[in-house]
Structures are given as structure tokens and as C-alpha cells.
Subunit: 223 residues, 2 copies
DNA sequence: ACCTGAACACCGTTCAAGT
DNA sequence: ACCTGAACACCGTTCAAGT
């Protein structure tokens, strides 16, 4: 029979040394997500992991949305921007785009957060944009095209991150196949290359297309 | 003084004629979203709008997720696929992509739903894919490229719908501008064309690039 | 300043009882 | 079969009290 004595409770009142911090909260949230997923991330479970009362969290964040912002900025450090200092533009973009998509495939609930969050509150996110911008400039891109190009790439990456979480059978028409013959045929036409994940094929194809199209646009820009 | 007599309550027990249906629920949910937004859509508010008890909804849907699926499929009818029967491929794609983005800009909470939902449960969604596929085939696209191209376009559209909901000032670096000089410069370089919304510029540029790049890919396909 | 503990308003969902 | 009404477990958040 195991002991049912709970963990030693702290009594009320300010503890001698601070227990919580935004960093500790971020770390605990990340671990929680890795083990229990985003549904497992509640203010309650977060407090439990940190061995504090849920209300204590509100001394360090204003809301659960704040926690997601902290997470978002931290996760951004996992995106690989190393190519922009050394590699040719195209190679650097590919490394960046694939790693960005892979990271956010594991964190799709953060996408609605990051997509509308002012960058001024997210230093790591700004650091990524700075590195990417430098890569574009190194490749002599026309200045006014850089930000729109980054936004377009990022939008494609975020949408693709969602797609990468879809089940492989998402396009099976099932019962209704007879009513949608052309689409059904198009779906079965790609079953041959079953060696790669469908989401990866589409992402690779879209990324190739974007890179080609953006380069064409840059080349025709009046300089 | 206005009457405080509440609306006439129905007594318990099966009513003589059915009050609810999936269609009625979908319609009420849509109206609710238009007036109160997605935070205003709860099983409780939905029931109130339909003048039933919240528990009654569960005779027609299994969960709130089910309601979102119904919504998603209905919203899909607003996407303009009319070009695919008559217009040149490129023109039809532009009409489709812009309308698809505009529709889901007003319904971003549905994006995580549609992105992973098997199409077999969504007839209107399948109808859209069928129309798009026919457009690709009319333009003599290689069959195995069609579905990946659609997925790539859709991913870009979904990501861009999120971006379109962002405040125009999302890229202002604020206090931290000094630490990120190149990105800050790139942001101010596009302030000149302040006549168009930033999200529209980026979407237009990305769509042009995707169209060009996808066409190039189709042209080199072994046929 | 920063913790606890007890509230609060709300959420989605279940289920027995009613016709 | 399809509604009501009363539950239930959980959610994020607030706030007085304590050191």
C-alpha cells in the first residue's frame, strides 16, 4: 500500500524565495504539451506541474492567452534560420521553411496566436524576421518586396502545418465517391507515390512554386 | 414598464412537431456568429436563439465540434468556383482563391476543423473540390499533380486568412526596433503603398508566385 | 511582492422524466 | 423520437487573507 500523504503543502503567504517566473511557466507549459498535448494544458494542470495554486499563476501572466504568447515566442527559437548567413538564398529559404513548418505542425494551436500578435511583444519572433530579412538583403532583393514575400511564405507555412496534422485518408470520398468522379480520380492518381506523405508532397510542390514565382517577381522589379 | 413575463415555456415531453434540425441549428449558429462572433457561439446561446433547452441540441448533433463541422460545410457554399467551367485556368484560380480567402477570413475558427476533417462527411466541401478538379482537367493538367496543387493553394489560402485578421500595425517593432534594424527598414520600405491593405499585397504576391510556379511545374511534367 | 484557498460565472455534456 | 430540467465535472479568473 502506497502512502496517500499528499505532497507537503505550502501555507498561505509570500514564500521566502520566489517560486514562479515567466520562464518557469513557459518551461512547464512546454513539457505539459509534449506529454499531454494542448487539451492537457489548463491553468489548473500548469499550476499542478509547478506545485502552486492556480491563482498564483496570475501574479506572472494576465491570462491563459499570455501563456500561449510566451510559448509562441519560445517555440520560435526552434526555427532554423542558420542558412541565411551562409547559404544561397534558395537553399536558406528551404531550410527555414521546412523547419518552420515542422515546428508548428507540433504547435498548431499557436498559429492563431502568432498570426495576429504584434511582433513588438515577441523578441524571438523578431529575431527570426531579422535573420530572414538579412538573407533577402544578402541576395539583393528589392526592399519593398521583402516583407510581403515573408508574409506570403509564412502564410503558406502556417496553412501547411495544419495540413500536416490531417490524417492520410482525409481525401477518401467514401460513399459519395460516385457523385464526385473527377476529384475521386485525381485522388487515386496520386496514390502511386505512396512512399512520401501526401502533406510533404504538397508542401514541397508549393514551396518550389513559391520560390520560383517570388524570384521571378524580384527579377522584374524596377531597380 | 415592460412586461417581465418570459417567453411561453414549452413543457417537457416530445412536442407535436419537431422544432430542431441540423439545418435550423446551422442557420442559427451562422446568425449568431455574424452578430456576436465565435466567442458568442456556445451551446447555451445557440439553444437560446432556437428557443430550446441546451440539452435538446444533443438530439441532433453529438457535440459542439459537430456544429462546427456543419458550419464549415455550409460556409463552403460561399466559395466562388464559377470560373472553372468557363474562364481560363488562371483567371478561375484567382476568382476561387480570393473568394476562398475572404470567406474564411470571417471564419478562421473553422480552419483547424476543415484542415483535418475527412471530406467524406462534408458534401459541399467535396463539391468545391470536384469543381476545382474539373477546372484543372479542362486546362489539361497532369492528373497526379492536381491534388497536391490544390492542397498547396488551400494551405496558402488558410494561412492568408489568418494573416488578413491581423491588425495593420502587427509588424511595428516598437521599443525593440533598434535591435532589429534590417527588418525595421524592410517594414518601413513598404509603408509607401499604404493604399492597399498589407495582407492583400502579400496575398496577391503569393498567389501570383504560386500560379506561376505551379504552371511551370505542370509544363515540365512528363506526359 | 507573491503565495493560498475559497469563491464565481460559465462551459460542454449526460440523463432521467415526460409526452 | 425529441423535448425539459436538473444535475456533473471542468474551465479560466478574482480576490481577501496571509506572510
Amino acid at each position: 500500500m502506497v502512502s496517500v500523504t499528499g505532497p507537503a503543502r505550502r501555507s498561505a503567504g509570500r514564500p521566502l524565495n520566489r517560486i514562479l517566473s515567466q520562464e518557469a511557466i513557459t518551461r512547464a507549459a512546454l513539457t505539459l504539451i509534449e506529454t499531454r498535448g494542448y487539451e492537457g494544458l489548463t491553468m489548473s494542470s500548469l499550476a499542478r506541474a509547478l506545485k502552486v495554486a492556480p491563482s498564483s499563476l496570475y501574479n506572472h501572466v494576465e491570462s491563459k492567452g499570455d501563456v500561449l504568447i510566451l510559448l509562441q515566442d519560445h517555440v520560435m527559437t526552434q526555427v532554423d534560420v542558420s542558412g541565411f548567413e551562409t547559404e544561397p538564398w534558395e537553399q536558406a529559404i528551404r531550410r527555414f521553411a521546412w523547419s518552420y513548418r515542422d515546428v508548428f505542425t507540433r504547435h498548431t494551436p499557436l498559429i492563431p496566436v502568432i498570426a495576429v500578435l504584434p511582433v513588438s511583444g515577441a523578441p524571438q519572433t523578431l529575431a527570426v524576421y531579422e535573420a530572414v530579412t538579412r538573407g533577402f538583403e544578402r541576395a539583393a532583393w528589392p526592399e519593398p518586396l521583402i516583407v510581403p514575400a515573408i508574409i506570403a511564405l509564412e502564410s503558406f507555412i502556417f496553412g501547411s502545418a495544419f495540413d500536416a496534422t490531417a490524417p492520410e485518408t482525409i481525401f477518401e470520398s467514401g460513399q459519395l465517391a460516385g457523385h464526385y468522379p473527377r476529384f475521386t480520380a485525381a485522388v487515386s492518381a496520386l496514390k502511386d507515390n505512396a512512399d512520401r506523405r501526401q502533406a510533404d508532397v504538397a508542401f514541397g510542390m508549393g514551396l518550389d512554386a513559391l520560390i520560383l514565382g517570388l524570384q521571378a517577381r524580384a527579377a522584374e522589379h524596377p531597380s
